[in-house]
């Protein structure tokens, strides 16, 4: 989507690393493991390839973001201490699981 692309561009122009791509397909995250630099903000652009909406949900990351079917959403991550931060698609949590690893 144009707006997400514009925001992603603005993000990288701001001097941050390029946003990380995350795709949801058949209620599964790809990749299921995302690596970010510890103690630096980062951004994930989630592309929902399914027909149904999904909520990117993580209590450890403090993020709740609904992404409609066949659209993109920006997920900003605060600077993270080194560690593992699981996330899930709340509406299909049996299959939609992933983890952010800060290192």
């Amino acid at each position: 989507m144009l707006t997400a692309a514009a925001a992603a561009w603005a993000w990288s122009a701001y001097g941050q690393d390029a946003p990380l791509a995350l795709t949801l397909k058949a209620h599964k995250f790809m990749p299921a493991e995302i690596h970010v630099k510890a103690n630096e903000p980062s951004m994930i652009v989630l592309t929902n390839g399914d027909d149904t909406p999904e909520e990117f949900d993580s209590t450890s990351l403090k993020v709740e973001k609904v992404v409609a079917g066949h659209s993109d959403g920006n997920v900003r991550l605060r600077p993270l201490a080194p560690g593992r931060y699981p996330f899930m698609g709340e509406y299909h949590s049996e299959t939609a699981q992933g983890v952010v690893i800060a290192e």
Binding site: K65, A68, G73, A81
Partner: protein, 279 residues
């Protein structure tokens, strides 16, 4: 089925606890059921609208529409809760006295009901839109499991409503002359929690990005994902890893609310200025 029960239960409880507090805070005020029911009804309607336009909403403001919308409705609720508390600081004693004297509902509190109906409305709207999106997804997939999932959702709704009713009747067990003091504090903490949650949404949207470092982490002790952590999150805005801006706004909200309430209470004639403990 269990998954849908849990999701619906979780969202209903979050909105339901707020409704429970509002009902307790308006104990004795005439026509409050009408106002609260209207708030819930408008919230459900709004939730369907938000869910239907989720994609359009999200794409606004360079992809930060959803975060700005959430922050805006939370801050609206904070403003309305403040209005209610300040108004009650001036009139609460009078309402409690009248209740005791005539043992009937008083009409003086009706003005503040609009504020609280809006609070109930936005609470239902926020949590409800997630339920609607989730149920829409189930319905869109169809299949044999859809019936079981919807059944689970209905059970979740009933269970959530049950817990909210417990909250309400628990509050009513508090003696009448103390009830408004307790609900005033509950509403203050509720507002502070909502304000700090709004900060988080603004930061998520790429705004208001100062003091973003996590101040402490108590997720090992009381994780926000657990039942107790979640309840505390809804009621008093508990966060297991708050950032500096959130704490600042939390404290500022409590301080502002207290100063405003004290100012209004101070303007009243002597009898109303007597501390609660003396009643």
């Amino acid at each position: 089925m269990l998954a849908s029960l849990l999701i619906v239960f979780r969202e209903v409880i979050e909105a339901g606890l707020i409704v429970g507090i509002v009902l307790a805070a308006t104990q004795g005020v005439a026509r409050r059921s009408l106002w609260v029911t209207s708030g819930v009804g408008a919230g459900v309607l709004g939730a369907c609208l938000v869910a239907a336009f989720a994609e359009r909403l999200a794409s606004l403001f360079e992809g930060s529409g959803q975060e700005l919308f959430n922050a805006a409705i939370l801050l609206t609720a904070v403003a309305m809760l403040t209005w209610h508390n300040v108004w009650m600081a001036g009139h609460g004693r009078q309402i409690a006295n009248e209740m005791r004297r005539v043992g009937a509902e008083v009409s003086a509190g009706e003005r503040t009901l609009l504020a609280l109906a809006i609070v109930v409305g936005v609470a239902v709207l926020r949590e409800g839109s997630e339920v609607v999106l989730f149920l829409y997804g189930i319905a869109a997939q169809g299949g044999l499991s859809a019936g079981a999932m919807l059944g689970g959702g209905a059970l979740g709704l009933a269970a959530g409503a049950g817990v909210s009713a417990l909250m309400y009747y628990g509050l009513l067990a508090i003696p009448a002359h103390r009830l408004f003091a307790v609900t005033a504090w509950l509403i203050t903490l509720l507002a502070a929690g909502m304000a700090s949650q709004a900060v988080l949404f603004l930061q998520q949207g790429g705004y208001f990005e100062f003091l973003t470092a996590t101040v402490w982490d108590t997720s090992w002790l009381l994780p926000e994902s657990g039942i107790a952590g979640r309840l505390l999150h809804t009621l008093v805005g508990y966060s297991d890893a708050p950032n500096g801006a959130q704490l600042l706004v939390y404290a500022t909200t409590i301080a502002t609310m207290n100063v405003l309430m004290r100012t209004v209470n101070g303007r009243k004639p002597a009898p109303t200025a007597v501390p609660d403990t003396a009643v």
